[in-house]
Amino acid sequence: MLIFSGLMLLIILIMQPLNIWHHGENIAVLFPKGLIGVEERNLLLIVQALMLVIIIPVYILTFVFSWVYRADNPKDKYDPDLVDNFFAECVWWGLPIVMVAIVSVLTWVKTYELDPFKPIESKNKEIKIQVVALQWRWLFIYPEEKVASLNFLQIPKDTPIRLEITADAPMNSLWIPQLGGQIYAMPNMKTELNLIANEEGDFRGSSANISGEGFSGMTFITKATSKEEYDKWIALAKQSSKTLENKSYQALALPSMNRETEIFQLEEPNLFNKILNKYMQME
């Protein structure tokens, strides 16, 4: 039985690398394409390694003790009155305290460093994009470029992207794992997410928080390209036959599970704030 347990443990240990080898680039969190994602991945690996320093000995001790002190082992020492030992207990209060202290310092520093509201430093000028979670689609507004897109996000690589996020729907969560962590998209509230793509590619984005019937289909493609291609896309979008102002927005805001991409010229520059303040009573 012990051998079986060991085997199971071995299976998990082997399974993870096998998975990584098999799925490779699909494993967004472990193989991110942007600085924020990389930082978060590195932190994950460091904390994981620190944990293993304690957990591996615990596993080994479990098996060793259980085996050596099994009831039918003729050679074992039996000492039923060994029920406390001040020194030993100091050790296992102390060990986790030291470990927790290290992880805590790391947590404190990194939480400030990777605050999603914090702008990313870069030589390239950041691009502001406003995101609205609808029922059940994503609307991306480029206020400075005066365009908007539905279920599709185009960004240039190596350029900080500042996402301002709200919802005209139940609470959602915007997550593009290949670029970095998520943040909630909430009605009446504005959250921010600063991301950057350091490689070109199509990255899957989705809503990570249940928001109703069409929730599973709330995926979109984030297309990271060169600056030139991005500019080309903006120019093309500006010539779109569709326009986005208050009235056409009302139609978009209706619940829909249509997942097609659409591109708009933005005619109402204040649209995002209007959505944000939808429930505010203006006196």
């Binding site: 596993y59 002190y69 990777l114 999603p116 249940i210 019937e213």
Partner: protein, 663 residues
């Protein structure tokens, strides 16, 4: 007349119809069997109106087993849908129905399986371990159980009439608000949880007072068995946390039924407050569930290592530490709601600190084995599985509690793998261990060890298959609660492995049910020949007969050490001949079951806006209370002579049982 209840409420998808049909057939079969064997009177007098915690405990376990099957069926549907619904295929459930299923799965498993298991164990074990004949408030305890049972019944009713909530097991607004969920589903959820929650508060109060006031002479706080300590901490958490849940649910109900604006998006409401409040209850709730299981393993490991518990004082301090700190970590459930880094870092570090006392516990269990004699019985096997899964889940829990890491795995299947590791690997395996360990105490029979072991390997292997790939799926960007995903995500193969794991788990559960029935069927072969102490125990519950007489102890024990039975077994002198005394026990009452039934009607009426029925049943509940509170607290008397008679017959039975051993 019938509020918003129309015939549409009875129309369902095929899978749900099958479940409802199965439920009705089972119900009719049960009624038929009870009538056929003329057991109605017995059922009424011995069980339904009982205030004996041992019987209430067994009834808790029965409800838990039923609800466990329901919750498990939900889980299987979720996994099957996720295997089938990829790319062009849409699976066998509609999105709405799928969302009902996962909401029901979480609600059922937490409120009716895990909570029920905890209260079942508390009822069964606490009075025996503290050397008491009864609990402090037998009526309140029975009422707590019947409210729990009423809520469980309402949960089953929601399967047959109308639809369940589609907003997840914690029903965050705005999704659960009238604006986005106008139908009866969320109301079902509110009243199911509300009734169960009030029951939990009552039971919690009863057990806190029982532990503090009913201990036998000599048992100071620091001489209590560690399981009692863990329950003490758990009940403190219940009393502090559950009122938050009750208040929050009332506010949500007022929003929905009385057009108030606590958590709405408009009218000055703030749904983020709900998220805070629900987790201010929800996080302690996790510890309400896991602490008693720490206690269970702290009983099992020493018993099967033939030692006393290593580092008792450390264990107690660790429990108290966890109890305290579990109230200041709730925000780690929503780091992604946009709090400042200061707030996130604070709550993250508080969460990581919980690893310290938990780690200490694990070391203490390990060193309990050190220089002991470890027996690989099935409760001990569950301990190994617990240790394996709980440490993995604990480790991923630490990852989740570091805010920047949480951003990347929150709401993904990584999170699901983490908390199922806690709840299955911790709470459920703990319950299985406790069930196997204490089963002989309440039946006089030992569960079939071969079947137990077979079930154990199914559970361990199935668990690893069903949940380890979820960590990887989370890394691959798979979020929770998806009823459909695209083929190019590369998730499909892993989802298939996960579903196979779920099937193996189900086999494990089936073997356990079979083992339970087989043990009862083939009683003679499974007789506990020691008639009370099959495992060579250390604590008081093993000093009385199995099953214990209604008064638990003929003479109230007097203890001087932490492990009184251990001390007794190692003592030189022979125990004195006991002197019996008159014993007073509380009298059976039908009021709790009536109030439970009325609560079920009240809940149902409120869900469907049948206001007249709701008002009537509420008045009836109040009347029941008034009747009970105006009456005298009645007791039954068991005279010293009767006690002596029972004790003698128990002694004879003991001799007879022991003789099976010889033949």
């Amino acid at each position: 007349m019938f509020g918003r209840l129309t015939t549409d409420a009875f129309k369902h998808e095929a899978s749900q119809n099958a479940a409802v049909f199965g439920m009705i057939v089972t119900g009719i079969a049960l009624i038929f069997l009870i009538t056929y064997f003329k057991r109605w009177k017995w059922l009424y007098h011995e069980w339904l109106t009982t205030v004996d915690p041992k019987r209430i405990g067994i009834m808790y376990i029965v409800v838990v087993l039923v609800m466990f099957l329901k919750g498990f069926a939900d889980a299987m549907m979720i996994r099957l849908q996720q295997v089938l619904s990829v790319g062009d295929s849409q699976g066998f459930l509609s999105a709405g129905h799928f969302q009902e299923v996962f909401s029901a799965h979480g609600t059922t498993m937490i409120f009716f399986v895990a909570m029920g298991a905890i209260f079942g164990l508390m009822n069964l074990i606490i009075p025996l371990q503290i050397g008491a004949r009864d609990v402090a408030f037998p009526f309140v305890n029975a009422l707590g159980f019947w409210l729990f049972a009423a809520a469980a019944a309402l949960n089953l009713v929601s399967l047959a009439i109308g639809s369940f909530a589609r907003a997840g097991w914690l029903a965050y607004p705005p999704l659960s608000s009238l604006q986005y969920s106008p139908n009866e589903g969320v109301d079902y959820w509110i009243w199911i949880v509300q009734i169960a929650g009030i029951g939990s508060t009552l039971s919690g109060i009863n057990f806190l007072v029982t532990i503090l006031k009913m201990r036998c002479p000599g048992m100071t706080l620091m001489k209590m068995p560690i399981f009692v300590w863990s329950c003490l901490c758990s009940t403190v958490l219940i009393i502090l946390a559950f009122p938050i849940l009750t208040a929050t649910l009332f506010m949500l109900a007022f929003d929905r039924s009385l057009s108030m604006h606590f958590f709405t998006t408009d009218g000055g409401g703030n749904y983020m407050m709900y998220v805070n409040l629900i987790w201010a209850w929800g996080h302690p709730e996790v510890y309400i569930l896991i602490l008693p299981m720490f206690g269970v393993f702290s009983e099992i490991v020493p018993t099967f290592s033939e030692k006393r518990l290593f580092g008792y004082a450390s264990m107690v301090f660790a429990l108290i530490f966890i109890t305290f700190i579990s109230f200041i970590v709730w925000l780690h459930h929503f780091f992604t709601m946009g709090a400042s880094p200061f707030v996130n870092a604070f709550f993250g570090i508080m969460t990581i600190i919980i690893a310290i006392p938990t780690g200490v516990k694990i070391f203490n269990w390990l060193f309990t084995k050190f220089r002991g004699r470890v027996h690989f019985t099935s409760p001990m096997l569950w301990f190994f599985a617990f240790l394996l899964n709980f440490t993995v889940a604990g480790m991923t829990g630490i990852l989740l509690s570091v805010p920047p890491i949480d951003f990347q795995v929150h709401n993904s299947l990584f999170l699901i793998a983490h908390f199922h590791g806690m709840v299955i690997g911790g709470v459920l395996f703990g319950f299985f261990a406790a069930f196997t360990y204490w089963f002989p105490k309440f039946t006089g029979y030992v569960l079939n060890e071969k079947l137990n072991t077979a079930a154990f390997w199914c559970w361990l292997g199935g668990f690893l298959l069903a949940f380890m790939p979820l960590y990887m799926l989370g890394f691959m960007g798979a979020t929770r609660r998806l009823d459909h995903y695209e083929a190019d995500t590369g998730w499909h193969s892993l989802f298939i492995i996960v579903a196979i794991g779920a099937v193996i788990l189900f086999c494990g559960a089936l073997i356990q049910f079979f083992g339970l029935f087989w043990t009862i069927f083939d009683r003679k072969a499974h007789l506990d020949q020691t008639s009370g102490d099959p495992w060579n125990g250390r604590t008081l519950e093993w000093s009385t007969a199995s099953p214990p007489p209604v008064y638990n102890f003929a003479t109230i024990p007097v203890v001087a050490t932490r492990d009184p039975l251990w001390t007794l077994k190692h003592a030189e002198e022979d125990p004195q001949e006991p002197e019996y005394e008159d014993i007073y026990l509380p009298k059976n009452t039908a009021v709790p079951i009536c109030m439970g039934f009325l609560s079920l009607i009240f809940g149902f009426a409120t869900v469907w806006h049948i206001w007249w029925l709701g008002a009537l049943s509420f008045i009836a509940i109040l009347l029941c209370l008034i009747i009970r509170l105006s009456g005298k607290d009645e007791h039954i008397l068991i005279t010293a002579k009767e006690v002596e008679k029972i004790e003698t017959s128990l002694k004879n039975k003991r001799a007879l049982n022991a003789s099976y051993h010889l033949t």
